[in-house]
Structures are given as C-alpha cells and as structure tokens.
Subunit: 285 residues, 2 copies
C-alpha cells in the first residue's frame, strides 16, 4: 500500500524521510476516480523517478457554481487499490479544509492561454487549476509532474505558469489514452448512458477526419472545421460547445495549418461535458 497523507505536514514528513540526496520525485496530480489514462501517467512517473507520488483532490476552486463539483465521481477505495498495484509510494489526499483556509486570498492567474477554448466558457477555471497545482508543487516539491494531453489547454497553461514563475519542476505531457472504439478516457464518461456513449464517438471520429484531411494536404482551418462539425452533427444528442484549430504552443488563432496545430473541441453529451483534441501537423512532402 502507498503511504497516505491527508495534510501537507504528513506529506512533507513522509518525503523528508524517504527522499534522499540526489533522488527524484514524480507527481501525478489527479481528481481521483482513476482510469487507464491516469495510470499511464503513474507508470511513467514511476519509471522516471525514485519516488512516485499521486495526489487525489477534487478541487472546488476549478469548478464553476453551475458545474458538477458535488456530482463529480469519487471512489477512494478503488483508487487506492489501483495505485497500490502500480507500486505508488505516496498518495496525497487532502480535505478541502486542509487545502483552503476560510480567509485565503491568494490566487495564481494565467491571463492569455486560459482566456480561450474551455477558459472562455469556464471563467475562473484555470485560475483554480493554476492555484491548486502550484500548491501541490509546493507541498510535494516534485522534480517532474505528469499531465495528460487530453486536457490539452490545461497542460499548456501549466507549462506557461511553470515557465513564467520559474518553477523548479519539469512539466511532462503524456498522450491521450482511448477506448478501443476511440472514446478518450475521462472520469466524466461515467455520466454517459449507453446511447449517449455511442453518440459521443463522433468526437474522436471528427478528429480522425481532421487528421485525414491534413494528411491529404488540406491546410485551410475553415474547411477542416466544417468537416469536423459535419461529423459531429451526425449525432443529434451531442451539443458542440466549440471546435477550434489553434497554434499548438500559444493557442493563437490560425487560418492555415503551417506548423503544429491543435484541433480542440468541447461538447455536452447528456449530463457530461466532454473534451477531446488532436495535434495536426502538415507533413512536408
């Protein structure tokens, strides 16, 4: 079993006992209800570091007032079994009260990358993400921290924060893990009924379509997005929130695919808000 720490002091106590000079610490920040996507991060953190730590914290600061904070799925017993099987050393699982004092007044904000895509629809979301991730970094002081590319914008925002604030931690992005039929793994997939789950497949299929078009030479963002939207419109219960193609590094809007771009989308399917994305890269012939 991993060591389980419920407070910053407990986590620091464990680390001060088990992290020797020159040994490295990896951190995988999660909101729990773990799936194979999380576990792929855990395996990489385990492989690349002497100590592998995982945080489980459903962060209220990154949920809007009308979002699914209360409903967000939780299963600590199963999470701990999964992490135990992976040989994780430390699980940091604080209470809300131990993370946020009633009179807290400090916030970390990222004011450029976090204003578009999901940030436009979820004001304050990325401030909440940055703030909690920075707190976790300060408590665990990892050498490397692992984030999934499924939350592509989050990964870019965290990389920017780490760069801008000179954080002494390497931010490692890891590939999206998908079901065999293409659905990107997400804790929120639990919200999907059978029919909604089938209809949600248009999201990954629309990204396949975008990738196919770029492979055969299409570079016009408008044309690609029209094709993406057409695929998604085949599923009437999928309500697209946005489908955009932007520069993969700084998320700037683009008209043509000239270097690495990302096609990112968000949609409501039944009770679930799902996101997915794909890197689009022109192959020079």
């Amino acid at each position: 079993m991993p060591h389980i720490a419920g407070t910053a002091e407990q986590a620091r106590g464990f680390l001060s006992q088990h992290v020797g000079a020159g040994s490295s610490v990896g951190l995988v920040p999660t909101m729990g209800f773990l799936h194979e996507g999380h576990l792929s991060l855990v395996r990489r953190a385990k492989r690349e570091n002497d100590i592998c730590s995982v945080s489980i914290f459903v962060n209220p600061l990154q949920f809007g007032p009308s979002e699914d904070l209360a409903a967000y799925p939780r299963d600590m017993k199963r999470d701990l079994e999964l992490l135990s099987a992976e040989g994780v050393d430390l699980v940091y699982s604080p209470s809300h009260e131990s993370m946020y004092l009633p009179d807290r007044s400090t916030l970390v904000t990222e004011n450029y990358l976090s204003r578009v895509l999901c940030g436009a629809a979820r004001p304050g979301h990325f401030d909440g993400v940055c703030t909690v991730v920075l707190k976790l970094f300060n408590i665990i002081t990892p050498d490397r921290a692992y984030f999934g590319e499924k939350d592509y914008q989050q990964l870019q925002v965290i990389k920017r924060m780490a760069r801008d604030l000179d954080l002494p931690v390497e931010i490692v992005g890891c590939p999206i893990v998908r079901e065999s039929d293409g659905l990107a793994l997400s804790s929120r997939n639990i919200y999907l009924g059978e029919k909604d789950r089938a209809e949600a497949l248009v999201l990954s299929r629309s990204l396949d379509k975008a990738e196919d078009l770029v492979r055969v030479g299409e570079t016009g963002v408008k044309s690609i997005l029209a094709a993406v939207r057409e695929v998604i419109s085949g599923s009437p219960s999928v309500a697209l929130e946005y489908a955009e193609i932007r520069d993969a590094d700084d998320l700037a809007p683009i008209d043509r695919i000239e270097k690495r771009a990302v096609c990112a989308l968000a949609a409501r399917v039944g009770r679930a808000r799902l996101i997915d994305n794909r890197i689009l890269e022109r192959r020079d012939s």
Copy 2:
C-alpha cells in the same frame, strides 16, 4: 566577493554546487541601493543559514506607470562592496529581460490584505511584489527569506501568499532601522533635499506620539489618528497620503486598540513617497 549570478540558470548552478544535503539557504530580496536596513536583514540571514543570498532587482512589475521606476536609485558597485564585506555568498542580479519574457502571462494576486493602505493608492503594486518574490523563491529555493517591517503591508502580504500557496519557506520579518533622529531608512530618502529631510521627521515623531498615547491608556483609534495628523501637519511640505490604524495581522479596520495594531502612514515629501509604521500594543496593567 560574492558569486554574482545574472540568470536563473547561473544562480541554480551555484546553489547546486554549494548547497549540500541538510544545509540551509537564506534569501534577502532587495531592489538594491542598499542601506543599513538591508544590511540588518543580510546579517540575520547570514547568522541563521549556511548560505546567504541576496537578490538585487528593481522590479518593473511593482511600479505604476506614473511612479519612479526610471529614477529609482541604483549603485551596483557600492552594493557589491557592502555585500562582500558582509560575507554574502550569492548575489542574484538578473536583467529585466531574463526575469520577464515578452509573452509572460502569469500573475500572483493577493486579494484582501493588498487592497488597503498602499495597495489602494498603488493598484497592481502588490501583484507585482507577489509575482517577483515567488519567482525569486522558485529560483533560489531558500529555507528562510528576510523582509523589513518598514514595508509592513508587504511583509503581511508575503506571509499570506506563503501560507495560501504552501510555500516551503519561512518568512522572517525584521525590525525597522532608523537614523539617530528617527527617520526610517529607505533607498528613497536619497530624493530628499535638506529641508525636506528635516520636515520628514514628523512621520516618525507622529508614530512616537501614537505610541505615547497608547502607553498612557488611550485606545480610541480616532483620537490617536487625530494626534498623529496634528504632528504631521506641523510640516507643511509633508503631504499625508494616509494615516491608519488597523489590526496588525489581517489589516482589518478597528475602532479601538484591543490587541496588536499597526499605525501605518504614507506621505509625499518633495519627490519622495515615504512610508513608516509602528506596532501599537496595549499594555495590560
């Protein structure tokens, strides 16, 4: 001579070579043009840590558009001589360009303590302070960081940031250092002509008056502030910006002095904006 680092990489390189397991690092963040107030922090940092580091950086992010960034006094040669005489190990003195990339977009904000007193007159000032101090902490990773109580509000804001973000650093406040006639040391005193300097003495004298009143049993904030303002009005070239008495910990407004309070003031004297403060504490008889 101390080792001089101009970039984060150079500072980290020095520290990785010279900080062994179990040895401690102290940091004194400054904007240079050092005086005895700074040196009192340096001596304490030196006494309490194995490695003593000082940063010198006139932080553009904490100056408003109409403030004295360009005019702020600088004398790196003299600063280095002073720090050399104190036996400082590392001076981190980055360029603006190495600290702030053109597309930086991350800011640390403190939204409660920093809204009053100087924060009310200097919007964005404490965001700039928090952001640069957090960057310095991430570059130097000190065990302890030393700040003067002369910038009382700044000290409280930084303590709050450290608490809220779980920073693994102890924030140490150090007493105000004064000239023999009472003037609080400040790099900005260089702006004062002879006459202004003499008139500026009403600032510390008004705080003496407040302290005297509390000593003889006065606890009413209104009465004490009236006496403070009366002393200051004796110097016509001192334009008071604010004189306030607040709770010493959370800077909340108070009517009576019941526990530790702070009397804080800011004034323009000629070209200089000066601040000063005094802790007021009721002696139970």
